[in-house]
């Protein structure tokens, strides 16, 4: 992966149609609100009045209905009445409202009435049973929490993680909200649901290139973009700090890193990531991490090949899983960017419409751009090995073969690579990438 200094654009879209607050040409900062969505919903209830009155629907007229469109009704209120009179006796049948709400439609020809429910289900306090998700007693819940009172949480965000031998138990937020209280008597986190308002911010500082009516905006800025291979933890912004060491350890992280983006050259250790979270670091970027550590951090297996949840810390890997170090070239880019403001997006979608994590460092830089997009293999090309044997080693292509049997039955295009230490290997072409 590499860095590319260029004019970039990013679409910032609302999750549903709403109001866009910016206009083309506006300057925005990373926390400028681009737009917002407000939505509340009332459930429609259709009352089959004809059936309730025992009358054919074509015989019903508006006079049989005792309510009109716009009327408020309570559950049980009469909404239609049918009176039958014979010579010596009579009968009255009534249909009542199943729910409280507002009469929306009166449809005599269809024998129907619709009531829009009066309850708004999307608001109020919600108790999330965290202790039961963690499989612990209510009184044991608090040490495992990752959120505190008044914290804002997103749907899917980890509320708590508990290690239990080889198993990891987690509790996630069922929806967006604000932590209202920690109830350690019942073992629950009480969330106050947001009022249905969701805002979208610019994320990168720049200029509004265009507005997508009611849906969002496109922001453009000149920036260096460094893409990773795997990331998690949503979006964060902070000042870049560099840690030039092998494995990132807890003692590398100090109070001065609060709110910053740390870039480490080697593997990100779990304890260091936990320390970073506690210290209020916004994001950590490194060459690699152990899979088990990422699973612990995410609170789940890397099963969906999609990470879009908020963790309270954004993590980006530029190399892969295991014990790896960053390339010299990439490290030089980071070193030049030290002290700049970085916008880190940890989202990863490894499916159709691939999304890789990225670090965007806005501003005119000192010519740090790297020529990407050179992917054709040729004799003499510098390559990096992506899989064993020779994982992450670098060398030069000596020979290209259209097809070779490498001994396990697979016949595929291959090449011979001479490594920097003088040794050579025949590898599958699919297992190398060209270094620009």
């Amino acid at each position: 992966m590499g860095g590319d200094m260029t004019l970039i654009t990013r679409r910032r879209m609302l999750p549903a149609p709403g109001t866009v607050h910016v206009k083309p040409g506006d300057r925005v900062d990373h926390d400028t609100i681009i737009g917002e969505v407000r939505y509340s919903f009332r459930m429609p209830h259709f009352v089959n009045v004809a059936r309730l009155l025992g009358e054919r629907r074509e015989n019903l007229t508006r006079d049989h209905f005792t309510v009109r469109e716009g009327d408020e009704v309570r559950a049980g209120d009469t909404v239609a009445r049918l009176e039958r009179r014979w010579r010596f006796m009579g009968e009255t049948r009534e249909a009542s409202a199943p729910v409280a709400g507002v009469v929306e439609k009166v449809l005599p020809g269809l024998g129907l009435l619709s009531i829009r429910s009066g309850e708004a289900p999307a608001e109020g306090l919600v108790s999330v049973p965290v202790a039961s998700s963690l499989r612990c007693r209510p009184g044991e819940m608090v040490p495992h929490l990752r959120v505190g009172p008044d914290d804002t949480v997103d749907q899917g965000q980890l509320l708590a993680v508990r290690e239990d031998g080889p198993e990891t138990h987690v509790a996630r937020s069922p929806h967006d909200g604000i932590v209202d209280a920690i109830d350690d008597t019942r073992g629950a986190v009480v969330l106050r649901r947001r009022d249905g308002r969701q805002v979208v911010r610019a994320f990168i500082p720049g200029r509004v290139q265009r507005v997508i009516s009611g849906r969002g905006a496109v922001i453009e800025t000149r920036a260096t973009v460094i893409r990773g291979v795997f990331g998690a933890g949503g979006e964060s912004v902070g000042t870049l700090s560099i840690v030039n060491s092998g494995i990132l350890r807890p003692d590398h992280i100090a109070e001065v890193h609060r709110g910053s983006v740390i870039v480490a050259r080697g593997r990100l250790g779990l304890q260091a990531l936990q320390r970073a979270h506690e210290a209020g670091v916004h994001a950590v970027v490194g060459a690699s991490a152990r899979t088990a550590d990422m699973v612990h951090l995410l609170g789940e297996e890397l099963g969906r090949s999609v990470t879009d949840e908020s963790l309270g810390l954004t993590v980006v890997l530029t190399g892969g899983f295991g014990d790896l170090e960053m390339d010299e070239d990439l490290w030089d880019v980071w070193s030049h960017l030290r002290g700049s403001v970085a916008c880190v997006k940890g989202e990863t979608h490894l499916r159709a419409g691939v999304i890789r994590p990225e670090v965007i460092v806005p501003g005119e830089g000192p010519g740090l751009g790297m020529a990407l997009g050179l992917s054709e293999l040729f004799i003499g090309a510098r390559v990096r090995v992506l899989r064993e044997p020779g994982f992450m080693r670098r060398g030069t292509v000596e020979c290209l073969m259209s097809s070779a049997d490498i001994g396990n039955g697979i016949r595929a295009p291959a090449l011979r690579v001479r490594f920097d230490d003088g040794s050579a290997l025949v590898l599958l072409q699919a297992n190398v990438e060209v270094i620009p």
Binding site: L112, G303, R351
Partner: protein, 595 residues
């Protein structure tokens, strides 16, 4: 018609296959793959189509350049296509109750070849704003809206329609309203139309669940195909030109694959099972009594979904297929690196064995998922209230492996397996077939092409299928009813030149290389209480056509031991012995005896 150019426009590759009728026989004249060009920079699918067609034409020595692919082109050339470009047909399914209308709708969408991105129901635990945001973020190609039996409740389906309206999703291609197929309560049609009038292109078909005990998927499936063709594909860059060229509707690729499986089942008059193992998803198909069932295990696959295979099973269930000792973290790390670098291939033998172990589990889990879904209708219970109906478990499983005579494998790990014995071993361990089963792979990725060809000439598809599906072997696996006897069955194998008589003991796994010329006759005499396909204790005779493949006598019993079983140690030891000595599946062969 003398020649047929069949195209499968995939997400990344456009695969062209040229078939021709020569001297009364259908032949494959050429096969060429070129990158799909629906995305930038070309943004015209015809660029990739023409490149692939030209390449396949060069192989056959005929001109299939741009002139042949024009409207006035070659009158002896028929052009057919299926497509999964842009990730295939992406659908969101909405129904009122998950286990009833929503489940039927999901079946209809899957059967039509769609990728079901999400199933939204009235009580799926989400709040309306979350559902709306979800519809919006998924960006589906179309939505299947169902709900309610005819004459039943209307409000819920209107709520679903209102959420769609609020989300106002826009299709990926073009600027037309999103297609919504409504297959719900007939009484709600006018209300649904009113709600969606400004934001969707509504297509109304018969309710797919008109009554609780009745499911009619045909009209919804046909509508999905029609809308896919006219409203989705027609909008994709360059597809208008392709649509004008083709001689039959463009089908979603999995739909074409399914059509071929139905033809195969009709041909052999037996049930058929098939699997397509992809990087992200694994599709399972079964044709039971002529009816096609398809399920998509959206999170089981060999690359993007490899970590989820690990997460969905016990590590020991993967490790049992490896001839070396590994810990769980090693498997997890392997899967994670495969996920982030999906285009890499296994090089070292240990790497290949790990890939095959993951494949076994991916297929096994996908097949288990298939069996969970391909069941009798749920929600039907005589004399039960709605609560009782909903609390029912799954209906009766429809796939009976003893009745499945053919299993077809597709997808890179099977189709591109270095040796047929590797694919055979993976499929036997994953499906655990019973009785006598023929196992084949679609090594040239031709099944979707033959599927679209069925639209023009089903007979041609049948003939070509026998040529292009490659035999990797046969499996004879006795089903033991009760306590296993010392010898499960005796098997006489008589080829044109050689023959032998063998026994199958419990736990045994024997491999015989079949003769590549002439028919091999098989007589299997099971012990009492053992079934090899003819019923308990009944002798089965069968003729195996000439093929360069193996016959496996599998006495390991069913189900195969897994992490929960007692006899796992024996299976692991046996696997290690087989794979340690014969790392790449050059299985030890039972010696033939001259006759």
């Amino acid at each position: 018609m003398k020649r047929v150019l069949a195209l499968d426009v995939g997400s990344t590759t456009t695969k062209a296959r040229l078939f021709a009728l020569q001297a009364g026989e259908w032949m494959v004249l050429g096969a060429a793959d070129r990158p799909t060009t629906v995305e930038e920079p070309a943004e015209d699918v015809m660029v990739g189509v023409q490149a692939a067609a030209a390449a396949v034409g060069r192989q056959a020595g005929i001109d299939l350049g741009s002139r042949a692919l024009s409207l006035e082109g070659d009158e002896n050339l028929r052009i057919l296509a299926c497509s999964s470009a842009g990730g295939g047909l992406r659908m969101v399914v909405c129904g009122v109750v998950r286990q009833m209308t929503a489940e039927s709708a999901e079946r209809a969408a899957l059967g039509a070849g769609a990728i079901v991105q999400d199933v939204l129901t009235v009580r799926d635990g989400r709040f309306p704003a979350e559902r709306i945001a979800r519809i919006r973020s998924l960006n589906p190609d179309m939505i299947l809206l169902t709900g309610g039996t005819d004459g039943g409740q209307i409000g819920h389906v209107i709520a679903l329609a209102e959420w769609i309206r609020a989300a106002d999703p826009r299709p990926r291609y073009g600027d037309h309203p999103i297609p919504v197929i409504y297959a719900g309560n007939a009484d709600a049609r006018s209300f649904v139309a009113e709600v969606l009038q400004d934001c969707a292109s509504l297509h109304v078909v018969d309710n797919l669940r008109p009554r609780l005990e009745k499911e009619i998927l045909g009209p919804a499936r046909e509508a999905i195909h029609e809308v896919f063709m006219e409203h989705v594909m027609a909008q994709a860059p360059g597809y208008a030109s392709l649509l004008a060229l083709v001689d039959a509707p463009i089908l979603p690729t999995p739909g074409a694959f399914g059509l071929l499986m139905q033809i195969l089942s009709r041909e052999i008059e037996q049930d058929v099972l098939a699997v397509d193992v992809g990087g992200a998803t694994t599709d399972c198909y079964s044709v039971i009594d002529g009816e096609l069932y398809r399920t998509v295990s959206a999170n089981l696959g060999m690359t993007y979904s490899a970590p989820n295979v690990f997460a969905s099973t016990e590590p020991l269930n993967i490790a049992r297929w490896l001839p070396y000792t590994v810990d769980a973290d090693h498997i997890r790390q392997w899967a994670a690196n495969k996920m982030i670098r999906p285009t890499t291939l296994p090089h070292a033998v240990e790497d290949l064995q790990m890939e095959h172990a993951i494949a076994r589990e991916a297929i096994r889990l996908a097949y288990a998922h298939h069996n969970e879904l391909v069941v009798g209708l749920k929600g039907i219970g005589a004399g039960q209230g709605i609560g009782g109906a909903l609390s029912q478990g799954t209906g009766r499983q429809r796939v009976d492996l003893m009745r499945v005579r053919d299993i077809i494998g597709s997808g890179g790990v099977l189709s591109h397996a270095g040796r047929g014995s590797q694919a055979l071993s993976i499929m036997i361990d994953a499906f655990a077939p019973e009785g006598l089963t023929r196992l084949r792979v679609d090594s040239g990725f031709v099944a979707p092409h033959l599927g679209v060809l069925t639209q023009l000439d089903p007979a041609a598809s049948r003939r070509l299928m026998e040529r292009v599906l490659v035999d990797v072997g046969w499996c004879l696996a006795p089903r033991v009813l009760g306590r296993p006897p010392e010898v499960l069955a005796t098997v006489e194998v008589a080829g044109a030149v050689y023959g032998c008589e063998l026994t199958i003991a419990p736990g045994e796994y024997r491999v015989i290389r079949l003769e590549s010329e002439g028919t091999t006759r098989l007589v299997c005499r099971p012990a009492r209480g053992v079934d090899v396909g003819g019923g308990p204790g009944r002798t089965v005779r069968h003729e195996i056509p000439a093929c360069k493949a193996q016959l496996v006598l599998d006495g390991r019993g069913r189900p195969l031991p897994d992490s929960s079983g007692q006899s796992l140690q024996r299976l692991v030891a046996d696997t290690r012995r087989r794979l340690a000595v014969h790392g790449c599946y050059d299985e030890e062969m039972t010696q033939w005896v001259g006759i």
